[in-house]
Subunit: 147 residues, 2 copies
């Protein structure tokens, strides 16, 4: 046995086989070896790479960021490795923390809305006295991208 077929890799990593080709196009997976007939033959570690990709995605990295991360890891190799990864991880952590803070504010607003027992969205959003959820954020604060 000289490699895994795409469906084996896909099943082992819990992704759709089409996703493998998609990742290859996106530069996340290197183009694997082929059989004489042109079928892809993946090395076993591809499964680990896929799991890493999925993990990183769950941590909030986009596919482009993951591709970049993998690239860095590959090119700058073992010596002076680290740098990029640590820096990016720190940045991502800051990001995630900001998102949490934002969501907390949102949760607070929703809770206030429930407490206030407001009835009608439109009137609510307009009346200045009401601690309404839908108006609370009316001026400014358009900054967030609540992914």
């Amino acid at each position: 046995m000289s490699g895994l077929r795409s469906s084996q890799v896909a099943a082992a990593a819990g992704v759709n086989p089409q996703t493998l080709r998609y990742y290859e196009r996106r530069g996340l997976l290197a183009a694997p070896r082929r059989t004489l007939g042109g079928h892809r033959l993946y090395p076993a570690e591809t499964v680990a790479v896929l799991r890493m990709i999925k993990g990183a995605q769950r941590l909030g990295f986009t596919l482009d960021e993951v591709a970049d991360l993998l690239d860095t890891a590959r090119h700058q190799g073992r010596r002076r490795a680290d740098a990029g990864l640590r820096t990016r991880t720190r940045a991502k952590l800051a990001d995630v923390e900001a998102r949490i803070a934002d969501l907390r504010e949102i949760a607070g607003t929703l809770r206030a809305a429930l407490d206030a027992g407001c009835d009608d969205l439109v009137t609510c959003a307009d009346s200045p006295g009401c601690p309404i959820p839908f108006a609370g954020l009316r001026e400014g604060t358009p900054h967030v991208d609540p992914r």
Copy 2:
């Protein structure tokens, strides 16, 4: 003056004029009155509606949900109003809270990764001993939609 032109409404609400037509198509804004020539003339409260929509979006409601919310508010009117809105708000709050919990876990993982000072993504994801971020979530937990 008998109403606001689309650009005025858009500017006042801080949205793109095209967005007004889009919302009309999506059922978020009622079709407004027109001039003889066919140009839209919005009533002043449209601005409040738009601000409400933007607020609701920021709270995590999708446009469909907002449309629904507005609809409910309009149709069941003042009497027995509430019901839908409160219920949905509660549901949304639960949602937001779940998202926060999830992000906290993610932040924890990222922090662990930094502490552990891990070097290489791929190796990391593979080694079972490492408290690595990219592997930590490898089995299961595919449940989240970290919007």
